[in-house]
């Protein structure tokens, strides 16, 4: 249909690695004039690295970038702007305290007699907005307008300043509501009509199908493929993002916990209508002793948000949470620890490890926090606990006095796991506990989870690897669009789950 010359951007065989990880390997990416191109992939797929390469933040080790048929080297973000590539990030980097017009033309203000020509400034800005059918008072401070308008002002600025040919929108809808999103989509379609190529990064599947023309899927730093949106069913897209063909997933071994649950035991944890505005629609959840609940869902589906509410990192603004029959009134990690709830968080680096402290200190940290500052665990006891978990989890280290920062990713993950196990929680929430660790360690952690369940602990297991969720959970809750899409018993198939993730029951 479209001639190859219609390609405004052609990135070929782009490779980029960071110490220890290949962030991009031989990735091809082609962008046509006047298309909206969705870039999809789970965490760590390489989306942001690809964009950083395109915007000159990172420099690829191999590969070429062809812009308008000419090979270019994008040296810096400034250079990329000069080449006509503009980016609008999810955190809007504009100044909310100055006027819309100033924001749009900051640094390019029309001048008269050495001062700013305010009238012309406002007129220019208004005209630029008008082109996208946005009719607002440009003299008012940007902060007076909704996030959606701010987002569009950011887009208009990107277009005005750089006369962009390529516009990159990085998660532009993550803080917009439905109306605002459709407003943004209108703008995107208008821009497309003028021949601008738009790269649209998002994790909302619905939106991809609403607005995009083509989809490129990345996984683990490699290109999975580029597809016409109309020709790629949702289910296939999800399967491609998760890296399993549908047929593969059907043959997952059913090695999940087979022990029978004590029939009508009271739930240890019960959430009724628990929700948080903007991140999670009200949800019901019951967790029984000895049970493993799998939480499946794509990035941004609300799975980690639910975990954070259950652990009290965020305070819910709707519904109730009951632990052992007692309602939780104060929400904080410390309070949850006292109730016997633990969360092994998703982002190991930011939320987990304290890198300048030793393995021993990292392992006892949560236990000590629960005990309070005054009852310091005797040093001998600290070593005893730390060494026991190093042995139990097979953490590879010469001694427990090593700094955690010196360990490999998988071993760091085990240290964090040990931190929570050391508090002997009755309810353990594991958010992506096996991400970024090798296959052997993965199997060990899965086995550990099953053992813990057998001891009568309740476990919420979050993973974007469907295989893993299917293998060890007795019930699977599928999250989609920040709400519980469905709940299945132990006999659910991968097919069903993927269909639920995709939004058709």
């Amino acid at each position: 249909m479209l001639e190859p010359t219609d390609a405004i951007l052609r990135m070929s065989r782009i490779s980029k690695s960071f110490p220890g990880v290949a962030a991009l390997e031989d990735v091809d990416f082609t962008l046509r004039r006047g298309e909206i191109h969705a870039l999809m992939g789970e965490n760590g797929a390489g989306k942001s690295t690809l964009i950083k390469v395109l915007t000159g933040v990172e420099h690829p080790e191999h590969g070429t970038i062809e812009l308008d048929g000419r090979v270019v080297q994008v040296r810096s973000p400034q250079h990329s702007q000069a080449l006509g590539i503009s980016t609008v990030y999810q955190e809007i980097n504009l100044c909310t305290n100055i006027s819309v017009a100033e924001n749009i033309l900051l640094g390019n203000e029309p001048q008269r007699f050495g001062t700013i020509d305010w009238r012309r400034l406002n007129a220019l800005a208004a005209r630029a907005l008008k082109r996208l059918d946005i009719d607002i008072d440009v003299a008012r401070p940007l902060g007076n307008y909704s996030l959606a308008i701010q987002q569009m002002v950011a887009i208009v600025r990107a277009l005005e300043i750089a006369s962009a040919k390529i516009l990159i929108l990085d998660e532009p809808t993550s803080s917009l509501d439905a109306n605002e999103t459709s407003l943004l989509f209108d703008v995107m379609r208008k821009l497309r009509a003028t021949g601008i190529a738009i790269v649209f990064v998002t994790h909302f599947l619905d939106q991809v199908y609403q607005v995009s023309d083509r989809i490129t899927v990345l996984r683990n730093g490699r290109l999975v493929g580029t597809y016409e949106t109309g020709a790629l069913p949702r289910v296939e897209l999800i399967a491609k993002m998760l890296g399993r063909s549908l047929a593969d997933l059907e043959t997952v071994s059913k090695a999940r916990a087979q022990h029978e649950l004590p029939a009508a035991e009271a739930p240890t944890l019960k959430a009724a209508g628990l929700g948080h505005k903007g991140t999670l629609e009200p949800i019901d959840l019951e967790l029984r002793p000895g049970e493993v609940i799998g939480l499946a869902g794509l990035l941004g589906s609300g799975r980690s948000e639910l975990a954070r509410l259950l652990f009290g990192v965020d305070t819910p603004d709707a519904g109730t949470l009951t632990v052992d029959g007692r309602p939780v009134t104060r929400f904080s990690p410390n309070e949850s620890l006292r109730h016997g709830v633990a969360l092994c968080p998703e982002d190991r680096k930011v939320e987990g490890i304290v890198k300048d402290l030793t393995i021993r200190e990292n392992i006892i940290l949560a236990l000590q926090a629960r005990q309070g500052w005054a009852r310091y665990l005797p040093e001998a006891r600290q070593y005893e606990i730390a060494e026991a978990y190093v042995k139990l989890l097979g953490i590879v280290t010469p001694s427990v006095d090593q700094l955690v920062g010196n360990l490999s990713g998988g071993n760091q993950q085990k240290v964090i796991l040990a931190r929570w196990l050391a508090t002997s929680p009755r309810i353990l929430i594991l958010d992506e506990p096996t991400r970024g660790i090798d296959v052997g360690a993965k199997a060990e952690i899965q086995k550990l989870v099953l053992d813990l369940a057998e001891e009568g602990k309740s476990i919420v297991f979050i993973s974007s690897e469907l295989e893993e969720v299917l293998r060890i959970s007795q019930r699977v809750i599928v999250m989609r669009d920040q709400r519980k899409a469905a709940e299945y018993g132990k006999d659910v198939t991968a097919q069903t789950i993927i269909h639920t993730m995709a939004g058709h029951q």
Partner: protein, 363 residues
């Protein structure tokens, strides 16, 4: 092998660099100022027989800075900073001077009253008021940082600027001279021939050490400093930890104010404890605590403060005028920063590698 291991342990110790710096300065003195180490015994009519000499001066004059450095260590370890300690010193000193003033409450102030060696306020009450004023200042800083969530530098800047004004208010804008011999004991007295102030430092250091190393507070402070978010997920209340650190820092500033005003027999709101915040930060950095927070050592910071005062006294010995001292100090700062920089650490690492595997394989 064991000797090499020992060497590696010595080099990795937090005390290694501040002690080396101290040794370098003292070595310089030994070479170029032969009289520097002379210590004599003097029989003071007021304070009895005691030692005197440059080394004693380093301890006695350095005591207030050592105290402030202890508090500053905890604050910096939480990845904060307290710029107000100099002002806290002034407030505490002003508090003491005003309460000692026998004219307090009298309408008619005469020179006789002011210079009489007496006071209407009991000494314990004066000390208590000093300490309370400083601790309250620390509590205020801690509140701004932990509850109002103001950046530490900005939050403590408020008191740094306002504090000396508050001290002026307390003393009614006067430079107050103190005439009360019992009060002078803290800055000038001696116990077993050594300055009282150094016993106070030892006492406060011991208190701080017990507080952070015999309880879990040290671990909590370091965790918060390295990764506050992870610490929160682990169930720590980062806010109370910061509140405590700043409050303790105010407390140490108050004691420093007490000793300083006692030493100089007066309280000058504009000058007492001037630049102490910067010297204290330098002492803490020399002690190996990173400005970004995390691992800290109280003893290393105290030695850092000693380095600063050994340097100061050395400069005095060589006749560098007090006005030019800051310029000389700048050289010290430059040397310290260069020595601790990544560049020289790398250089040193390479050098020790060539010398042999003195590095632990584990490192």
């Amino acid at each position: 092998m064991t000797r090499q291991k020992l060497l590696a342990r010595v080099r990795e110790s937090r005390l290694f660099w501040p002690l080396t710096a101290l040794a370098v300065i003292l070595l310089f003195d030994a070479l170029f100022a032969p009289g520097f180490f002379r210590i004599g015994i003097i029989d003071d009519p007021v304070y009895g027989p005691h030692l005197y000499g440059n080394l004693i001066d380093v301890l006695n004059n350095g005591a207030p800075l050592m105290l402030v450095s202890i508090g500053m260590t905890l604050v910096i370890a939480t990845s904060g900073v307290d710029l107000s300690v100099g002002a806290v010193i002034a407030i505490s000193a002003a508090m003491g001077a005003v309460l000692i003033n026998p004219a307090l409450g009298d309408r008619l102030i005469t020179n006789d009253i002011l210079t009489a060696d007496t006071t209407n306020t009991p000494l314990p009450l004066i000390i208590l008021a000093d300490l309370a004023a400083g601790t309250l200042c620390g509590l205020w800083n801690g509140f701004l940082v932990s509850r109002a969530r103001i950046q530490p530098m900005v939050a403590t800047l408020i008191l740094m600027v306002a504090g000396r004004g508050i001290a002026q208010l307390i003393t009614n804008g006067q430079i107050m001279t103190i005439y009360y011999t019992p009060y002078f004991w803290f800055g000038n007295g001696f116990i077993l021939g050594l300055p009282v102030s150094i016993y106070i430092v030892a006492g406060v250091a011991l208190l701080a050490w017990v507080l952070v190393r015999k309880t879990a507070l040290g671990l909590f402070i370091e965790s918060t400093g390295v990764n506050a978010r992870a610490a929160y997920y682990a169930g720590l209340d980062e806010r109370n930890i910061k509140l405590l650190a700043y409050t303790f820092c105010g407390f140490t500033g108050a004691i420093a104010g007490l000793i300083l005003s006692s030493y100089v027999h007066s309280s000058d709101a504009n000058n007492i404890g001037a630049n102490y915040e910067l010297d204290a930060i330098l002492a803490v950095v020399m002690g190996g605590t990173l400005m970004s927070g995390g691992r800290f050592s109280i003893v290393a910071s105290i030695i850092g403060a000693m380095v600063i005062w050994a340097f100061t006294i050395t400069m005095y010995t060589f006749g560098v005028p007090a006005d030019a001292l800051t310029a000389a100090k700048a050289v010290l700062v430059l040397l310290v920063i260069l020595l601790y920089s990544e560049f020289s650490q790398r250089l040193l690492g390479r050098w020790s590698l060539r010398k042999g595997p003195s590095h632990d394989a584990a490192h």
